[in-house]
């Protein structure tokens, strides 16, 4: 029988064990947890503001001083095995486009939605406007369409909900 020392993917405490590790580390480099969201870490040294947003194994680092940012990145890499993805382009299916001259940041989910359509084999379906015409009559599918049985309906709804929340 195995006695576990380290947490393993699938364990109930798996995400917590990881979070505690990160917590201890972030404290050691003078970051404090935000009161509003425990997954946001904040540090302010003089004029330099620094934010870290945690989404399980993805981190976003925001800082107004590039040198400080690189320094923290190096410290993180030394502690954990990390992949540096550089400038933020894609996060949780959101694509980012920066317009620094005008101080604007655009986010879109084109990629996610295309992938979604591909997953549910709907790439070539026709687009339709929402909301539907209130006069539309929905019919029950009498001949038990064999194709519809195979549709992972709950997953489709879940994926749509995610898209809806992401860039809302």
């Amino acid at each position: 029988m195995c006695e576990l020392h380290k947490s393993l993917y699938g364990l109930k405490q798996f995400p917590r064990a990881w979070n505690q590790k990160l917590d201890v580390f972030s404290k050691s480099i003078q970051f404090v947890k935000s009161d509003a969201d425990f997954n946001v870490y904040i540090a302010q040294v003089g004029d330099v503001k620094f934010f870290i947003v945690v989404y399980v194994d993805d981190l976003i680092l925001v800082c107004d001083n590039k040198d400080k940012l690189l320094q923290v990145k190096e410290e993180l890499s030394r502690k954990f095995e990390m992949k540096d993805l550089g400038d933020l382009h894609v996060f949780l299916g959101m694509e980012m486009e920066k317009d620094r001259a005008q101080c604007l940041l655009y986010i879109n989910q084109i990629g996610y939605l295309k992938e979604f359509l591909k997953c549910f084999r709907m790439e070539d379906r026709k687009a339709i406007g929402v909301p539907l015409d209130p006069k539309t009559k929905l019919k029950k599918n009498e001949n038990k369409d064999v194709e519809m049985v195979k549709v992972p309906y709950q997953q489709a709804v879940g994926s749509l909900m995610y898209a809806m929340l992401c860039t809302r």
């Binding site: 590790k21 399980v56 981190l59 400038d87 995610y162």
Partner: protein, 218 residues
Amino acid sequence: MNDDELIKDANPISLIEGLVEGDESTSNSSSEKEFVTPQDEGLNEPQQDGRRESPQRQRKEWPRDWWVATKEVERTTIAFSEEPQTVEEALNGEDAKKWEMAMQEEYDSLVVNNTWSLVPLPKGRKPISCKWVFKIKHGVHGEVECYKAKLVARGFTQTFGVDYNETFAPIAKFVSIHCILALAAIEDMEIHQMDIKTTFLNGDLEEEIYMEQPQGFT
């Protein structure tokens, strides 16, 4: 409804947390809790009725696991290819050699990282089971990149208070992500991204957990 849970002052910071609110005055009939879905919540949303003006409100947090679930969906549905579901399938199929190598690789990395030690099971304890998950990783153009086998614990066989005490998912709220991104855009800050490999190897366990030996390596 528990009076202790009532938050009497409307704190502006907690308003942007995306909490789900049920109104105290309308749900006095105890069990009928009113849930508002997160998309009904919004920062500067106009109030549609007078309910939210009540200074007394009971807050209910939207279960964090829900976010995990929807993120998982996006990953799992992509897998339409013929990946084996069980060890037997993997080791008797066409790619048996490749799967065997992938399993060995994962097993070795777990052993090297001192994930577990072999011990006799103490009396009265029930081990949790584990499972091999097989995945074919595809490259950008759909070509097969590598064969991956992953050992996962079947957490649903754990018992609260015995195998685990506390859980928590480190998932930032979308509201905070949006807020910080907006701030970064306005102040022209640097935004970088990092991603942690083999997250699971990082955390130490507080509880004593016993797991069955992985199939194929007993």
